[in-house]
Symmetry: D2
Subunit: 360 residues, 4 copies
Amino acid sequence: MSDMNFASDNGGPVPQAVLDAMARANEGYAMAYGSDPLSGAVADRIRTLFEAPDAAVYLVATGTAANSLALATLGQPWQTVFCSRLAHIHEDECNAPEFYSGGAKLTLVGDGDRMTPEALRAAIAGEETRGVHGPQRGPVSITNVTERGNVYSLDEMRALIAVAQEYDLPVHLDGARFANACVALGATPAEMSWKIGVDVAVFGGTKNGLMGVEAVVIFDPARHGAGTADWEFELRRKRAAHLFSKHRYLAAQMDAYLTDDLWRDLATRANASGARLRAGLEAQGVTIENDTTANMLFVSMPRGVHKAVQAKGAIYHCWGDLENGPDDEAVTGRLVCDWSMREDAIDRFVTTVAEAMAEA
Amino acid sequence: MSDMNFASDNGGPVPQAVLDAMARANEGYAMAYGSDPLSGAVADRIRTLFEAPDAAVYLVATGTAANSLALATLGQPWQTVFCSRLAHIHEDECNAPEFYSGGAKLTLVGDGDRMTPEALRAAIAGEETRGVHGPQRGPVSITNVTERGNVYSLDEMRALIAVAQEYDLPVHLDGARFANACVALGATPAEMSWKIGVDVAVFGGTKNGLMGVEAVVIFDPARHGAGTADWEFELRRKRAAHLFSKHRYLAAQMDAYLTDDLWRDLATRANASGARLRAGLEAQGVTIENDTTANMLFVSMPRGVHKAVQAKGAIYHCWGDLENGPDDEAVTGRLVCDWSMREDAIDRFVTTVAEAMAEA
Amino acid sequence: MSDMNFASDNGGPVPQAVLDAMARANEGYAMAYGSDPLSGAVADRIRTLFEAPDAAVYLVATGTAANSLALATLGQPWQTVFCSRLAHIHEDECNAPEFYSGGAKLTLVGDGDRMTPEALRAAIAGEETRGVHGPQRGPVSITNVTERGNVYSLDEMRALIAVAQEYDLPVHLDGARFANACVALGATPAEMSWKIGVDVAVFGGTKNGLMGVEAVVIFDPARHGAGTADWEFELRRKRAAHLFSKHRYLAAQMDAYLTDDLWRDLATRANASGARLRAGLEAQGVTIENDTTANMLFVSMPRGVHKAVQAKGAIYHCWGDLENGPDDEAVTGRLVCDWSMREDAIDRFVTTVAEAMAEA
Amino acid sequence: MSDMNFASDNGGPVPQAVLDAMARANEGYAMAYGSDPLSGAVADRIRTLFEAPDAAVYLVATGTAANSLALATLGQPWQTVFCSRLAHIHEDECNAPEFYSGGAKLTLVGDGDRMTPEALRAAIAGEETRGVHGPQRGPVSITNVTERGNVYSLDEMRALIAVAQEYDLPVHLDGARFANACVALGATPAEMSWKIGVDVAVFGGTKNGLMGVEAVVIFDPARHGAGTADWEFELRRKRAAHLFSKHRYLAAQMDAYLTDDLWRDLATRANASGARLRAGLEAQGVTIENDTTANMLFVSMPRGVHKAVQAKGAIYHCWGDLENGPDDEAVTGRLVCDWSMREDAIDRFVTTVAEAMAEA
């Protein structure tokens, strides 16, 4: 497959260190369902990384599971979750949050990928004005890096969370690209989460080099859930078929991810690729739609240019129809750099774009 | 960890061939969510193995997901699923079938791990006698190898399925130990499934040497589901957060499993270990509760013997309280042999039991 | 329709006093959704009747709604509800408890309509032995009068509730025939409920002369639910479409029911009819299957006798096939007396049975 | 309670004819659960009224139940329902559609109470663009009279339905004020429903003079549902606890409603009251926000005026805070006329408004 592949950060390989850790874990017998020593140690390492010794930590294999289990634990079926209009939990999970929660609603805040405190306050204020008749206010879900490649600053996140706290609503962080955001912000995991008021964070691994592992971190399990959130989460995870019997292979991946800050290294690479790509394209006069960058760019280019560069092997998604419409009409394309993206592939892509623009 | 480990067939390592296949798959970019070539090829290989060119085939990572998605696709929320009293879907999935189905009921057939045609007919006849008021009849779920280590013969399965077909009910096969049953019966996958009337089979890999992969095989997708069962299954899988983005790593495991009949070799080893263990214990006068054997034995031994052998390092689950009660009271223990069980560990275990019995 | 109608206690008319109360309530405007003064007053009257000034009280229109909402509020989706094998919530609600609870399971206790403390303890002890893997223990649901016409004594109820309390499980009382049980036992509503440890009682009206009203009484709302059980119940009721806008017509029915102990009078009549019917039939040598009686009898009579009396106009349900089978085979019939049953109809029925038996 | 009561059309009494019909139905025994002759006859009368001899017809007691059951039968849990931003199913049913459907989503079309074909097409086109990842397109739900008192013309409804049919999506009509719309449009029930392409209509009675009865009319049961929509609907209704045992009292209300076109008379009165109120207020210079009128007005008046007229006994809801804010700021009030509204009460209200405006 072409190495000018910007389709997603779930298309690349995993680092050798992850494979090695899985091979090392593949030794003799281990207790199942997370009772093996490695699983316990990995949970501790995550608590240490997050400076959160009392946090409950769980591994699941997909981001959709992580988000849906977290939101179901934080909320109730008769509530509504506040999220941006472009949130993954709304657009890309085939109603999984609704399924897991038993029928909660999602209230879409604002029009883009980033919520503003004003829009969030207006949305929250607009719900629960009808007593028992309307949906009740539920968790606020924030995604950083957003679905459109933007990075909320810590101050922006704080401002959103302050609104949630005004209404005593719990805060969920969709951290599919948690590491990319940390790197972009120069923040620690604690600074990206509980230190600014996040109640439950997803520490994503799958989009950042793991085969399929996400950690759900519940900072104060006694505050949420029926009884306590940790046991509720465990029951929800099992009932949703997301408790893995051979849990050591999830733990091994996460162990490698935590070792020598691999998670940060991988995100640093991906973000550097994103920056290189941005710089290269901007030098060619391409319009970049997101103003801040981690590892994902939204570019506006003429349809004909998209078609030309894809004909030369570049792989990425466009928003809208590439086949039909005038060649000079602007179409948005999404370019994602995973950790394994090569500089020469980026440079070839930029050159290919430049050539296509010149010919257009 | 002790190698006298009979706790479960999910406690052992995976064969090197599986790790190797995953490493081979870890090359460059691949399309996500099962659109990569390996995932397509593996589905074809499963269709070939099952002699079912029109089957819909899906990979998921846990047996609970496989069973719950299959049953939800075959049934309706207002129906009841017929299964044995000891079925995994009833006892060990924390209400996952109820969750996935939107609230279907389970009707427990008979008293043990094996249903009889008479008990199944009585159970089915007993439901749907109250029109709209009671639960409606739904899928029949059969497990082979059963939860108590027994193997239904093909004739026994045929007889159960004939009852389901009398009432036009679809048949689900929980195949967590599908391979062990095939080996025990000398049957092909097709003979274990559609040739005797199974509508949806789970071809389990996790308990037989994979990290976490099960294939759900829907033999006639046009017969079931809203619209057709294949697209419904895909939507249900995604909505349940069980569609893996980096699907190639599931596919690679399954690919190795299918290559050179690895699945059959692994099960042959596990079953041979079960037979060796059975022979060794019977020679010592231990009562084996299951009359047919694949890779799992239920043994009745005095509490004191269990305590003595566990004190010497043997690891396995007992049904009931080991700590409290007279030493000479019979207690049931479950001994499971996975593919990696060593002959010398079995022999040491038998010797340990013999010594404990002599001292008792 | 024949007045020898023993089909159910939902087949008869409502007392004139109920119609009158509804007509009186039909005056001018009233605030909707239970905010009218009559609705408030009726809730207070129920609190007074139950000697439970802090209880939360809600009206719904069907018994299935009352039971399902109560159980969903008391339990969790990953739990199992303990009830008798013949409980209405299991047999006659088309999976409503599973639907309302989001997929909880029902564990059937014993074999008949009455649980024993031993069977209940065994059932509870048998669940939640598998940690996160199995269903968790949930509410205990008791029905008095039972589905087979028997009446638990207060001591029997106390003994069952003591078992629930051993395990700290909440207790639900399905009171579809609450009034009939009170009359049969000479007990007050408080004695039938919180004084013996019931947490949530259904005070049924529909089977005892109302058009369709049941009161759900939550004795200690702060003990159950997410937050508190009262608000949770209100949200669940609304979400389930059981909050009536013109609530005054439910309240009016219940108001009439409470006035001058109408509820007790109606049940006294129904029970007296049951006793008269029992005495009459026993005098003819008919076997009555239930040993205690409120207003419902299960009689064992030859198929031919059932056919003969039904041919003469008697209406009631039989358990099993009346059409096929030998005339002299015993078949169980269910005879229910509602409040409006006339003595002469009972006597005619007994005579009809006697004649049919003589001719058989 | 004041007779200047415009709070809702669920606050008034029921016509004497309805009470009389219920009293007439209260005679002797009747088979339960809709098997009585009156229930059958009423279903036939509705089929006749709708000129739809093959329709399946069901009575339920609340509009929320009618809508939620209809939508759940027409759609799937992984779909999204298209409705206006102000639809009752979105704003006022505490997530009941999500609950009944097992977690379907609602996609809000446009910004107001009326969808346009363009906005509907854009909304539909915007969903199901992500294959298995996003919600799938589901039913289109139209409300006439809308939540803001407007009446879609038949042509406007046809244009919306044409868009649904382009995408082969079923159409649900929330007919809480079906009769008011028919009267406003001079249309027959058939013209308001299947003749313009509606698949399932709710023929509401509760807001138009009944105690609590809505008819759900499924025009072509073979087209929808698992199996056929009629049996699925019956099972869903029972499972949701909305199958009434003493069904005759629902049927009696509906029978009275159908007799001598009572439903049309009541709506004619309510609409005439709406028109009188509109004319009176407009003569005083009050701004009416809805451009077409059935029985509900949205008026924009200064806060001080609202406060003054409510202080004089008028009862109605305002959108926004009456207590806080400047007296001269415009606030929207909702004025609903039910069938029982008296002309002199309307006139007194108009005078009261005029006086308050003069004093302001």
